[in-house]
């Protein structure tokens, strides 16, 4: 698909419609919303920003590419003065006191914030059913889940409620819902986009990334959001993605895929067949494709969840109702903490906090947490070795098809295992793009750290041969 951002930009400049008209149309869709994809509609903020863009156009001033483009924000990002609930009861009425760096950069570029989007509470889920705002429905088939945790963001883009949305990806939370709703979703290299103002889930793998309908739009948004930020000291510098290079044919790149992801009993037969058919098309186009060995899915999932639970237990320990949040008073301070957290966290969030505290506690930390850290180091080393052999690693997004609403949360262990193909790249802090083709839930294109341009270029080629 062509760039939606470029198309709307041209239409605004040509005065085919005003920005206010565009924003009003999208606001109506977001409010009517049959997918449960939104927690708060930012009507006043959006109309105010749209009026500024219209005034510039009326004055004959030039507007930037993102000026006047409506976008959505996963409800885990701070936007000053807006509710930021993390889809939880605890923060349902919490107002952001400041704005996240990534979002501020988009606002500075003139993009129009439309809505805070429904998601799994604190990012804890793979279906966007773990939310106090009601399950998000899939944009293509409403009997299916939207995917998670950035489910509302993926649905809003797929349904054309927003032109792009900003999700958050800790273990697959952009890539999997993007695949479930047949759009693009990029998990950037860890640190490429500032996490300042993103409500922390697992700080060592949390990333900020876009969901959009075209590869070009992903690149446009990434170029605005990327960069070092003194407020997040894990940020790294990066080069701008060149859309002309992205549009050109990739030359001399070597492709790899993990044999054990494909040759196991857990993968759906159609996902396997479709993935292998894509590999054959790539070979037919003259590219060298190598089979690679990698860690088994059980080890990847267990390592990721062990570390992510430990980090979320620490990150969410501050949520006790003392300074903000829905405090429930009880007989003393300890009981007030207990009741506030017990009543206001969802079952899945509590399961992860408890799991995290288990692995961090005496007697468990050596056997589980520290061993998990060692496994992560080995996984990172394996990626480094693989990227000495190949430039791109391809994999399905999920082992199975999109689940029906109600199937996922009832079996948490199965939910964790369904993240088998996404969590490894998170542990490796690698850039990975979901493309909406190749298998029912899409195909992931991964590169070495900071190789966003390479993966977008290869994805563009794949889009042409699919």
């Amino acid at each position: 698909m062509e760039s939606q951002i470029q198309k709307i930009h041209n239409q605004l400049v040509a005065k085919e419609f005003t920005c206010t008209e565009l924003v009003k149309e999208k606001l109506a869709l977001l409010k009517e919303n049959k997918y449960n994809s939104v927690n708060t509609v930012l009507e006043d903020l959006a109309l105010e920003a749209a009026a500024k863009v219209d005034a510039k156009i009326a004055n004959g001033e030039e507007i930037g590419l993102l000026e006047g483009i409506p976008f959505g924000i996963k409800d885990v990002y701070m936007v000053q003065g807006t509710y930021t609930s993390a889809s939880s009861d605890l923060l349902k009425n919490y107002k952001s006191a400041y704005t996240a760096t990534a979002i501020q950069k988009l606002l500075d570029a003139g993009a129009i914030p439309m809505a805070k989007e429904n998601c799994d509470s604190f990012g804890h889920g793979s279906s966007s059913e773990n939310t106090v705002f009601g399950s998000v429905k899939n944009a293509i088939d409403t009997s299916l889940v939207a995917g998670g945790s950035s489910g509302g963001s993926a649905v809003n883009v797929a349904a054309d409620y927003t032109v792009f949305s900003i999700g958050g990806d800790t273990g697959g939370s952009i890539r999997q819902p993007a695949g479930y709703n047949k759009i693009y979703g990029l998990k950037p290299t860890y640190g490429r986009v500032s996490r300042y103002g993103l409500m922390a889930y697992a700080s060592s793998t949390d990333t900020v990334g876009p969901l959009a309908k075209s590869i070009e739009d992903v690149a446009i948004v990434m170029n605005v959001m990327s960069g070092k930020d003194p407020k997040d000291q894990t940020t790294i510098s990066s080069e701008e993605i060149n859309n002309a290079i992205v549009a050109s044919k990739p030359e001399g790149v070597k492709i790899g895929y993990f044999k054990n992801f494909i040759e196991n009993d857990a993968i759906d037969s159609k996902v396997k067949a479709d993935f292998l058919a894509t590999i054959e098309k790539i070979k037919a186009a003259g590219y060298e494709v190598q089979e690679l060995d990698f860690f088994d899915a059980d080890t990847l999932v267990s390592t990721y969840y062990t570390l992510a639970m430990a980090e979320t237990a620490s990150n969410l320990s501050r949520l006790d109702g003392t300074n903000y949040g829905n405090r429930i008073e009880d007989k003393n301070l300890k009981e007030t903490y207990m009741v506030t957290r017990s009543e206001n966290f969802t079952e899945e969030t509590k399961r992860r906090i408890v799991g995290g505290n288990q692995v961090l506690s005496q007697g468990f930390s050596d056997a589980i947490y520290l061993k998990g850290q060692q496994l992560r180091t080995q996984i990172e080393e394996a990626f480094e070795a693989d990227f000495n052999k190949v430039d791109i690693i391809l994999s399905p997004v999920t082992p199975g098809p999109v689940p029906k609403i109600g199937e996922v949360l009832s079996n948490p262990h199965a939910m964790y295992l369904s993240d088998a193909y996404t969590v490894g790249f998170s542990l490796g802090q690698l850039p990975t793009l979901t493309c909406p083709f190749g298998t029912e839930t899409g195909i992931q294109v991964t590169g070495a750290k900071n190789k966003e341009q390479t993966i977008l270029q290869f994805a563009n080629f794949l889009n042409q041969v699919k």
């Binding site: 407020k231 639970m309 301070l333 799991g355 060692q374 080995q378 262990h413």
Partner: protein
């Protein structure tokens, strides 16, 4: 003298206990084999001392202060009310 603190206290969640779904994940880690030749990459992820930001106090804007006050769960006679910390 060590005392094991139960997970419900550690988590400040009433009745919290370990779950089978999560324990299955931990069992995989317990049984996993570690390659002893693996290097320690911790230093690779460390922040360089040159990249540390200056430790300065910045005054928040009036709107930030106002929202912080608004978010506070309880206010009485112009004071923000916290739970009773010291028991009589």
């Amino acid at each position: 003298m060590s005392k094991i603190m139960p997970v419900d206290i550690l988590s400040s969640i009433k009745g919290a206990k370990s779950s089978e779904a999560v324990d299955k994940l931990f069992d995989v880690i317990k049984n996993a084999e570690i390659n002893s030749n693996s290097s320690n990459q911790n230093t690779k992820n460390a922040v360089s001392i040159d990249d540390l930001r200056a430790d300065v106090v910045e005054n928040s804007s009036e709107i930030t202060k106002q929202i912080i006050r608004e978010n506070f769960p309880k206010e009485k006679d112009g004071y923000l009310v916290v739970s009773k910390v010291i028991e009589g």
